[in-house]
Symmetry: C2
Subunit: 264 residues, 2 copies
Amino acid sequence: MAQSDNPLRLFADRLARHSRLDRFERQEILALPGTIAHVRANQDFVRLGERPDHACLIIDGVAGRFGQSADGSRQITALHIAGDMGNLHAAVSPGGAAPLQALTAVSVLKVPHSALREIARARPAIGEAFWRESVLEAAVLAEWTVNVGRRNARARAAHLLCEMGWRYEEIGERVGFSYEFPVTQQQLADMLALTPVHVNRTLKTLRIENLADVHGRRVDILDWNALMRAGEFNPAYLDTGTGGEQRAKPKLSLVPPRRPRMEA
Amino acid sequence: MAQSDNPLRLFADRLARHSRLDRFERQEILALPGTIAHVRANQDFVRLGERPDHACLIIDGVAGRFGQSADGSRQITALHIAGDMGNLHAAVSPGGAAPLQALTAVSVLKVPHSALREIARARPAIGEAFWRESVLEAAVLAEWTVNVGRRNARARAAHLLCEMGWRYEEIGERVGFSYEFPVTQQQLADMLALTPVHVNRTLKTLRIENLADVHGRRVDILDWNALMRAGEFNPAYLDTGTGGEQRAKPKLSLVPPRRPRMEA
DNA sequence: CGCAGGTTTGAGAGGAGTCAAGGGTTGTGG
DNA sequence: CCACAACCCTTGACTCCTCTCAAACCTGCG
């Protein structure tokens, strides 16, 4: 993508979205060591029980944290997109590294846990930011559980589309009401705890109702407000900020709905 | 319960289960300020959107973290039992405090966030332990999502009973294969993403199959191994330890199964 | 004693799963 | 440049797990 030189800038920006870091602390983040790796779509790049010695900063693409049930069926429990540090938590809990799967082709920066723990110890503000990052991830996980547990297929899908729309907007990768989300319906099924067949029918419903159009690698939100209502989406859980201080942010352009495509 | 004087000992023990703390650090934990409060069953003691200035160390009873969907139905996403610090995460993310409901009568120690953040900053090892605590909670959340998303009613219930059996054993509140778990079937339904009616039928199945007997306020595990199999329970996710070092622990008495009650 | 809240059971409905086949798209190799 | 393969999407028909509605039964307690 357009992010110029240092992939760590993505991560620093993400931290800055919820934590207050001064320029020295930010500098430390940007100076973290790491090596770039590329992962092909559909490849598991952290497997269950593995004890990786590095975290994976997603530079580009979509990765999923998943759990597996006995019959091999997967449940994706979290998505990581550009700027997210997958398995940051394993820095303090290496045995608890979450399995990660590349849903699309993914570029990652592998950052050694040792380095992360070092700056967390040396700079309490950074340590706190990492902690907060884990807390936010947990909040998203909790909402995911509610989604899967208490909503029907249509609401689940709507909720997911809203969440990803929101998150892609945060990182500047949503233009208007359209964003790239190149996952298959099979993978959507693993996120929504549905079968691929039913995902297909559900997306069709959303399209017919003029709420959202998911086609191939792209999501067009046709009626943002209606979609939020259908998915009972309240972005509060994504947006929980800093330590004690207020945050200065009107942020998200909650522009009135729009209906760009009038197709069949 | 039997824990003598300082409720914080419960919490310190819990931290010690996954993090290495020296005696001075432990001392700091034990010296945390706090006031005891009692909550009646079924009362929400942290509400959605609230910004509490304290975390809630559960001394006794069962509390649930929950999310709500539009029609008011609840999804419990995590359980807190004695020794768990509910809403520890809110110390760094006050806006993200999780709603908490007392499922039984609950005693809590309210510990000011400010104090928690202070010792986390002053003592990096404690900060890291808190971070790790949040990470472990997230791991449990993720497993919960898998449970709700990818398993049928019987497996879900079995998994929950295993998890709670494991956790009550950790805190020394399980004698043999029996533990107190005084929640209603309605509340179980909110945990398992089922209806109370179906919970009832499911528990009946487990009883008939001689896997577990849930009656009123108590759970008797009739066949631990079979129950683990039925619930696809693998305690690894509950048991993810320390920073880099090994942990010395054979721990859990994974005694061979037993069939204490031969009743109808 | 009688109420309130929890548990148990039955009968019927419905949302999502399963099985199966056909149509589209993309990429690659002849 | 076309042909084919692999993968994905779409749709139909039928099944089944879980929900809904409803009533009865327990049990602790005021």
